[in-house]
Subunit: 341 residues, 2 copies
DNA sequence: GCATAAGTTCAAAGCGCTTTGAAATATTAA
DNA sequence: TTAATATTTCAAAGCGCTTTGAACTTATGC
């Protein structure tokens, strides 16, 4: 059932039918109803490729998925995507997920900027110096970064104040009397992890506590890696009395390590963890409930997509750049009850 | 840079250029090289919409994402998707993710069958009687179900033997002397959970152990829900001496519940959990290491996509239906060391 | 009653590609 | 050399939609 066939049955031109269906005003209400009626009866669906070809818009936003990289930061991806999806359902757009070997990643981004496959792009997990962003700022394909990166030109982003959050968390620990604070972090070539590191480090210095690199360990986000990191930190002398942990999966492993060493989390060692609100893993349900810096990643997904949508709509390619910083809460729970003085 | 422009610069017709680029034999090798050369220089990218319109293929497979349903079974989605992406990268296709309010889900499936937005569809988490499958078997849009459902017509699926796996696990527990076995399961209106339930129940009956419905609890896949389920089961009298758990997230919560009740997992209560191989949460790294029925969900994602791709290619709409049953291993570890006699 | 404006409708071009069927050219056979 | 064949190229139609610019109706004002 094509527009042509539909219009023939109606005894109208394609123009009129198209306009009736797309809500243009230059169609009489009577005609419009007639068209809509028959379109529904005939179960007519406009062909999206034809539509895209004619309009130059696909109603798709793109997400490039490097297949080796463990699905961005794996466990968080689903939550993030849920937020993206939430907004897109409202805007009636789809996601084009483009699976790509890491080796071809940049090439794919360049290609996307040319081919009109998508109306805009969402960039996740930017590195401290992100090549994708560097390449895209030159193009006129709208894109928004989830996070920030070092780039001399303006670009749209939606981030949380990682540095501030970890500064606050560190300060809290210091004020509770902790002098030896371990950091279990994600890969610090990624900007978010680097920011957290900077927040931690600068706060130590602010309080004139010597920064000890061996108290900082990075790893990929797995329970095991959290376990190993904590185990390693517990070997450090003097033993850290507090742990700052970059995510809930790490926390799982770290707490296992503590217990295995006969230490009780929150009692023998204080813990603050960054919580992205995984609904299946809630910090308040831990034993003890975990003190967190927290910020819903799902909301971030929603907001960033809204921003991208806006950028696509305005089409003022020049400067509709937006930046948004989502709030991070510090929620104090049982795992920082311990006090060292 | 369009085909037209490119062909003009080359002094060739669009036909020839198109054919040269798409590897058709009726182009001399000399010409082909010339074309490819300039195409690369000019950074030419064919417009996908135009291509789709002309060929009727989009090179996209579709995944409908119900935005309320917590991203299929949330934590597993990323892993599954990784497998899907892996295959698609090889086949050079993309995923169209279609975010949809649950209320419009079926409508969207019908629409997809008509509109040519995607070349095929992947169906996840089928219900025991799945309306989506029922609706799609009538269409001629290729689709493959990850899991099975009750449907009188043949359809393609890729599943694991959930029933067999849970039967084996139950048998193991019984043979270890357990008479009171609790089941912590996902939503049993979903086929996979129902199958596991059936495997559990039938095995009990096979050993003439009275099936007690109050030993079966369902819930959504969250740590908390696993905690609650276990807590509830521990109230049961006689107290179950073994727990059969449908996934790792539940296991996290269940073990917390056990410990909170002063019970040591694997010692006071035996545990078998189904493991979908979440790389960030590995059963062998638990304390004690968990006995599992296991089957990599990532591989399932890869295989199901391969099947779909095949179904799209052959285009023998009639009967190219395939079914595949992936193996489930029973891996015995520390959490079933306890023996009751 | 007529000019003007406002409201409707339409034919046709165009979006950028593929593909058919014919034409031009090169090759081979007789 | 010429006819027959194989190879290479092309013009044009078509995919299903949107949108421009013109045309036809109906309403409005004087």
């Amino acid at each position: 059932m094509s527009l042509k066939e539909l219009s023939q049955r109606l005894g109208l031109s394609q123009t009129t039918v198209s306009r009736a269906l797309n809500g243009y005003p230059e169609v009489s209400e009577r005609t419009r109803q007639r068209v809509i009626q028959l379109a529904r009866e005939m179960n007519y669906r406009p062909n999206p490729s034809a539509k895209s070809l004619a309009t130059g818009r696909t109603e798709h936003i793109g997400i490039v998925l490097p297949i080796e990289k463990n699905l961005f930061v794996e466990p968080l991806f689903g939550e993030y995507l849920a937020g993206v999806a939430q907004f897109l359902a409202e805007a009636d757009m789809d996601i084009t997920v483009i699976p790509t070997p890491l080796s071809q990643e940049l090439e794919v981004y360049e290609q996307l900027a040319m081919s009109g496959r998508v109306d805009g792009l969402l960039i996740s997990s930017p590195a401290v110096n992100d090549a994708r962003v560097a390449s895209l700022v030159g193009s006129n394909l709208p894109f928004v970064v989830h996070g920030r990166t070092h780039c001399d030109q303006t670009y749209s982003y939606c981030d949380i104040d990682n540095q501030g959050a970890f500064a606050r968390a560190t300060r809290l620990l210091i004020e509770l009397g902790h002098q030896h604070i371990g950091l279990i972090n994600g890969d610090q070539s990624l900007n978010y992890a680097n920011d957290r590191y900077l927040g931690y480090k600068s706060t130590l210095e602010q309080y004139s506590i010597t920064y000890d690199p061996s108290l900082c360990v990075q790893g990929e986000i797995t329970e095991e890696s959290g376990f190993n990191a904590a185990a390693q930190l517990l070997m450090h002398r003097p033993r850290p009395s507090a742990l700052l942990i970059s995510n809930m999966i790490f926390a799982l492993g770290a707490m296992r390590a503590l217990r295995q060493h006969g230490l009780e989390p929150g009692y023998d060692v204080a813990i603050i963890v960054h919580d992205d609100y995984l609904p299946y893993l809630r910090a308040d349900k831990f034993d003890p409930p975990l003190t967190t810096t927290s910020s819903p990643i799902r909301k971030a997904g929603y907001e960033i997509t809204k921003m991208l949508h806006h950028e696509i709509e305005v089409d003022d390619t020049a400067h509709a750049k937006q930046q948004q910083l989502l709030e991070v809460e510090l929620i104090i729970r049982g795992s920082t009850r311990i006090r060292r003085n």
